[in-house]
């Protein structure tokens, strides 16, 4: 077993990554730069790895999608650096890592939280190849809701064609529902449950 290191400066690197995720959730649609962990084993992306290591610990069960679960190095690396229990059922997971955004699982299958404790829901960390305000990505979405002045536009690749409908169903569950953190090559953007998402026709 050869394990690559995670953060060089565990406290400060984790804090910076945490702050990027926090800002992304507070200002949905904005791209927040994150320094990726280049040592992360494929197909786990460096940025998704940094987010996972910053957020997950012994008390946050992790769920991996099919592509990530098929690579044993990924589970071993995450288990070592986070201490999290890997392979939890989606409905028990605090975080879910998705490498294959195109076949994003049913959002309703993840922990939805309760009306009393809406925080007990899954946060999905979804790897996407392209992410940014103006990228020439396959899909552009228009966002509105808390944390957004008027509306915002986000270009993103890899997400399934019916993503807007699925996020609308998720939004309707508020205060329950899941939050999505999109991990692109340069940083993260978030689609929390409070955000209304519509597709922009090309």
């Amino acid at each position: 077993m050869a394990l690559a290191r995670a953060f060089a400066d565990p406290v400060h690197d984790a804090q910076q990554t945490f702050r990027a995720v926090m800002n992304a959730l507070a200002r949905p649609g904005t791209l927040q730069p994150v320094a990726g962990l280049t040592g992360a084993p494929a197909p786990l992306s460096p940025v998704a790895a940094a987010v996972a290591v910053a957020l997950a610990d012994y008390e946050t069960p992790l769920w991996l999608d099919g592509r990530l679960a098929a690579a044993p190095d990924v589970a071993a690396w995450l288990a070592f650096h986070t201490g999290a229990r890997i392979g939890a059922a989606p409905s028990q997971a605090a975080f879910a890592l998705v490498a294959d955004a195109g076949i994003l699982p049913d959002l309703a299958g993840f922990a939805q939280g309760t009306d009393v404790y809406p925080d007990r829901s899954t946060t999905l960390i979804v790897q996407v190849a392209e992410l940014g305000p103006i990228a020439s990505a396959a899909m552009r979405v228009r966002l509105a809701g808390p944390g957004i002045s008027g509306h915002a536009t986000l270009a993103v690749s890899c997400l399934p064609a019916d993503i807007a409908d699925r996020l609308a169903a998720n939004h309707a569950l508020f205060p329950r529902g899941v939050d999505l953190v999109l991990a692109g090559p340069e940083g993260v953007a978030a689609l929390p449950r409070t955000t209304r998402v519509t597709l922009v026709e090309a």
């Binding site: 610990d57 012994y58 008390e59 288990a79 201490g83 229990r85």
Partner: protein
């Protein structure tokens, strides 16, 4: 009317400086070092570890120094410190039967395998102030005697062989162990959660409740089946390695209370149990804990619940001295607006009763 007030920053800063000065006391007297507290005020350290719910002798010693010897404040400091740390996991349950015993007594059987070992105890001292300690004196080496290898089974296990005492609940090995530091306390609580609550509860509160059961408020007819003190090994199941790794030893005190039970519609008459366990040498605490643990089982054993010590909500919701001190002491904080409102109301009522006009409000 709401009036926001600011101020006091300098007063607060200066109060903290004065506190540091008061903590130091007379500079002509040598300053106490945490290591001295750790080694010479060990029972204070043990209490702070137990009620702070964190085993770390050095940390508890610093907290006692910082708190000027206020053990509740020290437990508060320890609790605050632990809240900053990540959790690596949970230990395998410690095995008190495998304890390296420093003290072990039973009030139920004179002759027990392994014998009655008094250890370092205040029992049988005359409670006369020892003025030799004023000057300090060298202490003689403790006596030694050949240590045989006789095992020291728990006294309650001896009764268990004859089915004269109830068995301990085995529990479901796959079920998560509830943790009140992670999930808010929900009532009714299981016995596991109650024991966690009592273990970190205030010694004075637990002691008084235990005492109340002896005086008739929820009688449990207890015998001290066994009290043992000593070191147990702590093992952490390592996810990295896939097996349990030893972390080192901790000192714990365990009390097994054996209680008379006349039986119920479903249960035969036999002895029941109350259990106490705490970090360090906390004998009084574990005895009180065992009494209260048994009293709280009244409902389960078909006994009438009528005394405070049997009332789960009363006991569990008021046992924590950090919570209690927070709520009681918050009364010191400014309540100027609340009080002004009450004052206005009382004046108005008083005015009406006197048939007068309501009095004018005092100047703010």
């Amino acid at each position: 009317m709401y009036v926001a007030v600011k101020g006091g920053e300098r007063a607060i800063d200066n109060a903290h400086r004065l506190l540091a000065h008061a903590r130091r006391g007379d500079p002509a007297v040598p300053e106490v070092a945490p290591a001295q507290i750790r080694e010479q005020l060990t029972l204070a350290v043990d209490r702070v570890m137990t009620e702070g719910s964190l085993y770390d002798r050095d940390l508890a010693a610093i907290a006692i120094k910082q708190a000027r010897g206020d053990l509740v404040e020290a437990a508060f400091l320890v609790r605050a410190f632990r809240s900053t740390l990540p959790r690596f996991g949970a230990s395998e349950p410690v095995d008190t039967a495998a304890m390296q015993v420093a003290r072990r007594v039973s009030a139920t059987f004179k002759d027990i395998p392994g014998g009655q070992v008094l250890g370092p105890t205040f029992d049988y001292t005359h409670r006369l102030v020892d003025f030799l300690l004023e000057a300090g004196a060298d202490v003689p080496e403790p006596a030694r005697a050949p240590a045989d290898e006789t095992a020291m089974p728990r006294v309650t296990d001896l009764l268990g062989h004859d089915d004269l005492i109830e068995r301990n609940p085995p529990g479901d090995p796959d079920a998560p162990v509830p943790d009140l530091t992670r999930e808010p306390l929900d009532l009714p609580a299981g016995r596991d959660l109650r024991l966690q609550n009592l273990a970190r509860g205030d010694e004075g509160f637990i002691l008084a409740l235990g005492y109340s059961t002896q005086r008739g408020f929820g009688r449990t007819h207890p015998f001290a089946g066994e009290i043992r003190l000593g070191e147990v090994e702590v093992e952490l199941f390592s996810e990295d390695l896939g097996f349990a790794v030893p972390l080192g030893d901790i000192t714990v005190t365990e009390c097994q209370m054996v209680n008379q039970f006349k039986g119920s519609a479903t249960e035969p008459p036999r002895f029941t149990r109350g259990y106490g366990l705490a970090f360090g040498h906390c004998e009084r605490k574990t005895m009180g804990m065992a009494l209260v643990d048994r009293a709280l089982r009244a409902g389960e054993l078909g006994e009438e619940v009528k005394a405070p010590a049997q009332d789960e909500e009363f006991v569990l919701m008021h046992s924590d001295n950090v919570q209690a001190t927070g709520f009681v002491e918050h009364l010191k904080l400014p309540h100027y607006v609340d009080f002004q409102a009450e004052l206005g109301l009382i004046r108005e009522i008083a005015g009406r009763q006197a048939g007068d006009e309501p009095l004018k409000e005092a100047a703010e």
